[in-house]
Symmetry: C2
Subunit: 126 residues, 2 copies
């Protein structure tokens, strides 16, 4: 029901099939097989989406795997849960730092753009 081939996913997410297989090599994906051919479920597709989102945020693939694994229900050991909460905290700190950085960068870009536009206007009047 609504499965995907590797090239379908590659096309949808604008990556190469090599990239998707690479994520599997690193243990981030584990699609089913029909014979030798990979078959991706909607859940696999979601994992890929999360991986790529992590990439856009500058996370390593290992980081992404850790985070994605947090969403799964295989973690019942108490110590592991505590460790996960710590990891989540750490991630949040890093992300809030990124939010700050982006805010500042956007401000800088606005200023730079304003400067450019002013320069263009003055130049146009000459």
């Amino acid at each position: 029901m609504a499965d995907y081939s590797i090239s379908q996913l590659a096309k949808e997410f604008q990556v190469t099939t090599r990239t998707i297989r690479h994520y599997e090599d690193l243990g981030l994906l584990a699609p089913a097989r029909r014979g030798q051919t990979r078959v991706y479920s909607p859940a696999d597709r979601t994992r890929l989406r999360l991986i790529l989102r992590g990439k856009r945020l500058g996370l390593s693939l290992d980081d992404s795997r850790e985070i994605i694994d947090m969403y799964e229900p295989g973690k019942t050991n108490v110590d592991q849960l505590k460790k996960l909460i710590d990891a989540i905290q750490a991630q949040r700190i890093k992300l809030n730092q990124q939010l700050d950085d982006i805010g500042n960068l956007l401000k800088d870009l606005n200023q730079a753009e304003a400067g450019c536009i002013d320069a263009l206007k003055s130049n146009g009047k000459s």
Copy 2:
């Protein structure tokens, strides 16, 4: 007046001197010299801050150089200015995408954390 040595900057920004020299190799920094020794001005220090901020946002060093160069007043050619405005637009789009991603990731992390805490509570009651 208020200049810095390479190791002072390295300590302040928690990077190695090798890293700072590397940025110079790539043309992101151009400190003065006293004899053979590098001397960093406050402006150089600011550039380094901007480079590292870019890094936290996942920009390549080349990207950072382009952005940082936008802030400088050496760009008077009209075509260059228009090109810069376009580059700023592109950056803004990418950054807004990152903002979106971070918002979603934070939401996910909150959920995952809540799940962990609940699991810990149930576990504690047993």
